[in-house]
């Protein structure tokens, strides 16, 4: 399975659209794309997960790294449009309490 990463550079706002699956095979690619973005002060990185239909714990690991980097570099990380299955993972692991997740917009069906 594949993960498609589309970065839209709008200066202080970087929007990242993901499509596909985040697992042990695609997570390194996501990490490589995401980390440099959050390592800039005052930037807001919005990750759109509407088209991510599967994510395993390796994917969570990437978001935790990104979150830690964001804290260190004083940028902001925000996840939007999570599908239920993906959202559940953030819920179970308690990560929804420390990652900014906009769950008013739910992705997928």
């Amino acid at each position: 399975m594949n993960l498609n990463i589309e970065v839209n550079d709008q200066g202080l706002t970087q929007s990242v659209k993901l499509a596909g699956e985040i697992d042990a095979y695609t997570a390194p690619k996501l990490k490589e794309a995401l980390l440099p973005l959050v390592k800039k002060a005052n930037v807001t990185v919005i990750v759109d997960l509407e088209h991510v239909n599967y994510m395993d714990s390796t994917g969570l690991g990437v978001f935790i790294s990104a979150l830690k980097a964001a804290k260190e570099y004083e940028s902001e990380l925000k996840l939007v449009s999570l599908q239920d299955r993906v959202h559940r993972l953030f819920e179970i692991t308690g990560l929804e309490n420390i990652i900014n997740i906009d769950s008013t917009v739910r992705g997928g069906k």
């Binding site: 714990s57 390796t58 690991g61 692991t93 420390i98």
Partner: protein
Amino acid sequence: MEPFQFNLENYRKVLERYINTEDESSLYQAEQFSKLSMQNNILPEEIINIHIQALKDLYPELPKEIDASLNFLLETMISYGLAYQQFQTLRQKQGELESEISIAANMQQTLLSTYKPKIEGLDIGAVSVPANIMNGDYYHFVTDQNNNLGIAVADVIGKGIPAALAMSMIKYSLDSFPKTQRNPSIILENLNRVVERNVDTSMFITMFYGLFDAESSKLQYASAGHEPGFYYCAKSDEFFEITTKGMVLGVTSDSTYEQYEIEMDQEDIVILLTDGVTECRVGDQFIESDEVLKVIREYMHLPAQEAVERVYRHFEKLQDFQLRDDFTLIFLKK
């Protein structure tokens, strides 16, 4: 004499026959010659050299241009020969690495091995199967003199060697806590600090920790972001998800863990698992938790160990015997 000189004669004969008749059997012999050369570590440039020699024997008047062009080919093949030798060395190295990993896996099994205790009035079943050689799942039982049972089920994110190494750390921290201190929420708080201090930022561990009091049949438990298990209530013949709150281990240093309690009645079952069970996939389809429970229900009347093994075999077969993730399932049956 060089070993390929011996072959030159044969090569020339076969080449001559082929030039005259263009028959398939000569080509078959060429194939044999090529395989034999590989067995004897004969490099491509040497084969070309044999060809040149044979050709010169057969046609002493070989045009100068052809001779030069064959030399050109020989020079070109030198680097291919080197690449081939390099490939051989790397292949041998790969074999060595594989055997080293399998030794490490054996060692992990010994390090992390846990015994399944016998507790009066509790039937315990447990399976844990790695998707690859090394297991990133872990379960551990401890008992104290009052016959209380401590149960840890954990899952390290990621698979393979890094996960296995992290797991050994968890096991030894667990062992280092005093035997009298088996309070689930405090154990998780302590472990969280250990993991937070020691592990790479993108690595984390989920864990369920339970303490079963044999006297009162109460199970106290807390969870660090672990995949929720199930509680089967025999009286109402229903499954309940064991919902808990708690951050995964290793993300923030000051996480606290809420503690819960279940009182188990006769025939009740506590089912603990890792996401290798619930995230089980068949092709592109996920297995819904209803289906997991359906399978569990089918086997849960059996003795606990037999039941977990049958459930495992069911999912193993469903996934064509290729686990995508480490699979751990534990039954605690009253």
